[in-house]
């Protein structure tokens, strides 16, 4: 970390994103409607999609935070994925409508004549998104969080879509009336891409897919290697539940050890795994006695 303030800055990234996106939705929606630009309204919907991603994440945190109860002994972690699927399917339909209406506007030759206030909306959006991108990249690099950097690049893609919208508006002002609906179609495609990715992610997580990051397994194996008295790793299962990871680990231990020794091995293994994991982790360890021939 370069400066003391970096920590604080990194913590504010999420809030800045939410506030920035909300203000952009309002401004782009208003400017788009008043300025008569299809592209800018589509871009506002795009910002809604970004905001929804954050909102779904927050909901996930809240719901997963609920204690396990008798009815749901495994907790509420997967509710987040259901919410995400519903929301993004809805957005998907909206995006299809954007594509359809934009295409019809071009085919029918409807005159979409945005005024310059729409262009200002697009310029504003470009500026805000770029600033948010720079903050996230900087903070993510400083606190060494790849996920924050990855999220930052989403802001960058918002900048590109706003630039497309700006080009569309300026083109329409120059007399190419098809340019603005064309920009709207481009934004619609971006929204569809987001929707497909999000729905795919959520579905895969519902299906208890192993975490995609390869190094998670490596890290777990590395951590377990340092624990004493483990004869070998039989199997590791992992799945993402909401914001946390759940591991099930089968360890080979020597068959002659005492139960209390075994329990100690379990505790140490759990501790070791939780230590290397960035995310909150739940670990279940099972021991499997084997005859070790040394």
């Amino acid at each position: 970390m370069k400066y003391a303030a970096c920590e604080k800055c990194a913590r504010s990234v999420g809030m800045v994103n939410v506030v920035g996106n909300i203000s952009m939705i309002l401004i782009k929606g208003y400017m788009g409607v008043v300025g008569g630009s299809k592209g800018l309204i589509a871009d506002a919907i795009h910002s809604c999609a970004d905001l929804l991603a954050t909102v779904v994440m927050i909901i996930g945190l809240k719901i997963s935070g609920r204690e396990k109860d008798d009815d749901y002994p495994y907790g509420y972690g997967k509710a987040e994925y259901l919410v995400a699927i519903v929301i993004y399917l809805f957005l998907f339909v909206i995006a299809l409508y954007i594509l359809y209406d934009g295409a019809m506007a071009i085919i029918e030759g409807r005159q979409v004549v945005p005024c310059m206030s729409a262009a200002w909306g697009a310029i504003f959006s470009i500026a805000i998104n770029e600033l948010m991108f720079r903050q996230s990249v900087c903070a993510g690099t400083q606190i060494n969080s790849p996920s924050m950097v990855a999220k930052a690049w989403e802001s960058r893609s918002d900048v590109l879509s706003s630039i497309a919208v700006l080009i569309g508006i300026i083109g329409a002002k120059m007399g190419f009336h098809f340019m603005d609906p064309l920009a709207a179609i481009a934004v619609g495609i971006i929204i569809i891409k987001i929707c497909i990715e999000m729905v795919k992610d959520a579905t895969l997580n519902l299906m208890d897919r192993m975490p995609e990051e390869e190094d998670v397994m490596e890290q777990v194996r590395g951590a377990l290697a340092r624990v004493k008295d483990i004869a070998g790793i039989k199997d590791i299962h992992a799945r993402e539940v909401g914001p946390s990871l759940e591991f099930e680990v089968w360890l080979n231990v020597q068959e002659h050890i005492t139960v209390s020794h075994g329990e100690r091995i379990k505790r140490e293994a759990k501790k070791a795994i939780k230590k290397v994991m960035e995310k909150e982790s739940f670990v279940r360890v099972r021991l499997f006695p084997v005859e070790v021939v040394l």
Partner: protein, 574 residues
């Protein structure tokens, strides 16, 4: 409690998405936002109190009778000759609307930039707009009370046109339209605006209040038949200045630095523009903060502005920038075009001809016949015969008020003002409108580009030093080969002496032609080219051996070319 609050987040955002989506579909269907007028029509208190549902129809009919401008025209006949575009079914214009004037501006389908780009500030319905076939007005108090409607809601149906979509759907006189295409309507203009976004064949839902109960109808729209007045947007914002795009000739004559702006050709009496101090010849550069490029832009800006709202115009007058504050208003209803019959036959008049048209001093009879204010003095165009007059857009019935800013109340001053042939901006009255018509300098187009002078390039002008051995003499309106050929009856033509043997020509000043036969003999002229010639002169010249080629149309250069290729026919029987 806290648990439930969580869901408000995504639901709010999703609701916003839904609203935006509706807006998204909405944006494309609003055509040309800038061209719609937004003011509500004025309704005098008397009309509001009196239960006379047909007051609007009466007033409209009255205006048509006076030759009002708001005459709707469903389609326009194609192919009106001479490049004229006549879009208004207006009987008051004496000779159609020539000069490629565009009268109907609120018509987005019309190609821009035609000819002189003259535009009158008239708002008009889109000719291809579909119609309901209903004569509508605002709901007056009596009807509102009877139907227990809140004041100011709904639109009253005065009349249902027979065989119209409205009648077919079942709408009746006395219904109050509450909603049209799912939008609440409170004024006839709102209905008009909804219709403007539709096309023939679309089906819209109309909700009406009939005798206190709600009924809904599905109306399939059709195109309005010709000559029928659909709910037009009435009484647009009015400034009272005639404006034109600036062409190169105007730029030179008015000494303008560029043509970024529009020029004022006339300011109407008692208009907001006059009150603000706008004058003929002013160049308007900015309207409010907007830089003006052309008439069309200013027109839509004026229509988009609200009457009574002060607007600052930046103008250029005599090379200085001035700021004028003008308050646009409504066009007074009484000031509609006076009825103008066709031109009375010419009586005793002093005739002349200029750039291919015959002109006379406008007599008192002519002035009265044209419906101009008594005492108007100018030069009346009797007949437009040949280029360049036909090209630049003069018409029979035009009254020339000034040439290059010099007033032309009589023929003498007209001749003095028009003799300078290096381009002219002519101020004319046509109908009741002032126009500028630009006459390009000889050999130039209106855009200021030089015409290809072709065969004339080989001729060089020589000075009139001593007798020139000319074989051919040409009467021309100007001192060069690009000037049109004129006749000796024209006031003071130039005589161009052409020596074909060494490709040279000399120009004789009109004042030195007092004795034409002697001049021709002195320069050994054997042929004389002219547009027309009086009988005695022709006989005198023929008796001295001069061959006369009369009736020649075109430039002097063309005439030489024709002469060289033996295509001129000599006058016979003298």
């Amino acid at each position: 409690m806290k648990k439930n609050m969580i869901w408000l987040g995504p639901i709010t955002v999703l609701a916003f998405v839904a609203v935006l989506t509706v807006m998204y579909g909405w944006v494309g269907s609003i055509n040309s936002i800038g061209h719609e007028t937004r003011e509500t029509p004025e309704v005098s208190p008397a009309n509001q109190v009196q239960p006379r549902p047909d007051n609007r129809a009466d007033r409209r009919a009255g205006r048509q009778g006076q030759g009002g401008q708001l005459v709707h025209h469903g389609r326009f006949p194609a192919g009106i000759g001479n490049g004229q575009i006549q879009l208004i079914n207006n009987p008051t214009f004496p000779a159609g609307i020539g000069n490629q004037q565009i009268q109907l501006i609120n018509n987005t389908t019309f190609p821009a930039g035609i000819g002189n780009g003259q535009i009158q500030l008239i708002n008009q319905n889109n000719p291809a707009q579909p119609f309901l076939g209903l004569n509508l007005s605002e709901v007056n108090e009596v009807v509102a009370k009877e139907l227990k409607l809140p004041a100011g809601t709904g639109v009253y149906v005065n009349k249902v046109v027979a065989m119209s979509p409205g009648q077919k759907a079942g709408i009746k006189t006395g219904d109050v339209i509450l909603k049209c295409a799912h939008k609440t309507v409170n004024t006839p203009e709102q209905v008009g605006q909804i219709l403007a976004g539709k096309k023939a064949g679309d089906v819209i839902k109309v909700v009406v209040n009939r005798n206190g109960g709600k009924k809904s109808f599905h109306v399939k729209l059709e195109n309005a038949p010709m000559g029928l007045d659909v709910g037009a947007i009435q009484n647009p914002t009015w400034m009272g200045a005639d404006i034109q795009d600036i062409d190169t000739v105007m730029k030179i004559q008015f000494n303008l630095p560029d043509n970024r702006g529009v020029i004022v050709s006339h300011v109407a009496q008692n208009s907001p523009a006059q009150a603000a101090g706008l004058r003929t010849g002013d160049m308007i550069r900015r309207f409010g903060g907007t830089r003006l490029q052309d008439v069309k832009q200013l027109q839509s800006l004026i229509l988009g502005s609200r009457p009574g709202q002060q607007v600052r115009l930046t103008i250029l007058r005599n090379g200085r920038h001035l700021a004028l504050d003008v308050i646009p208003g409504h066009k007074p209803l009484g000031s509609a075009t006076p009825n103008i019959p066709f031109i009375a036959p010419a009586d005793m008049a002093i005739e002349g001809s200029w750039i291919g048209m015959d002109v006379t001093e406008a007599s008192a009879n002519d002035v009265a016949a044209l419906g101009l204010p008594a005492g108007t003095r100018g030069i009346l165009v009797n007949d437009v015969e040949s280029p360049p007059a036909t090209m630049v857009g003069f018409q029979t019935g035009d009254v020339i008020m000034a040439v290059n800013g010099s007033p032309t109340p009589d023929m003498k001053q007209f001749v003095a003002a028009s003799k300078k042939q290096s381009g002219a901006v002519v101020d004319i009255i046509r109908g009741n409108k002032h126009l500028f018509i630009s006459v390009p300098p000889p050999g130039f187009t209106l855009q200021g580009t030089q015409l290809n002078t072709g065969v004339n390039n080989k001729f060089r002008q020589v000075a009139m030093a001593g007798p020139i051995r000319g074989r051919l003499g040409i009467f021309a309106s100007g001192p060069d080969l690009n000037s049109p050929v004129v006749g000796n009856t024209t006031n003071l033509p130039y005589l161009i002496l052409v020596d074909l043997s060494n490709n040279s020509y000399a120009v004789m000043d009109p004042n030195s032609l007092n004795s034409l036969p002697q001049v021709l003999q002195q320069h050994k002229v054997t042929g004389l080219v002219c547009a027309n010639i009086s009988g005695p002169t022709a006989a005198t010249l023929a008796s001295r051996g001069v061959v006369i080629y009369s009736g020649v149309v075109g430039t002097a250069g063309d005439a030489i070319h024709l002469y060289e290729t033996n295509r001129l026919i000599a006058m016979k029987g003298l």
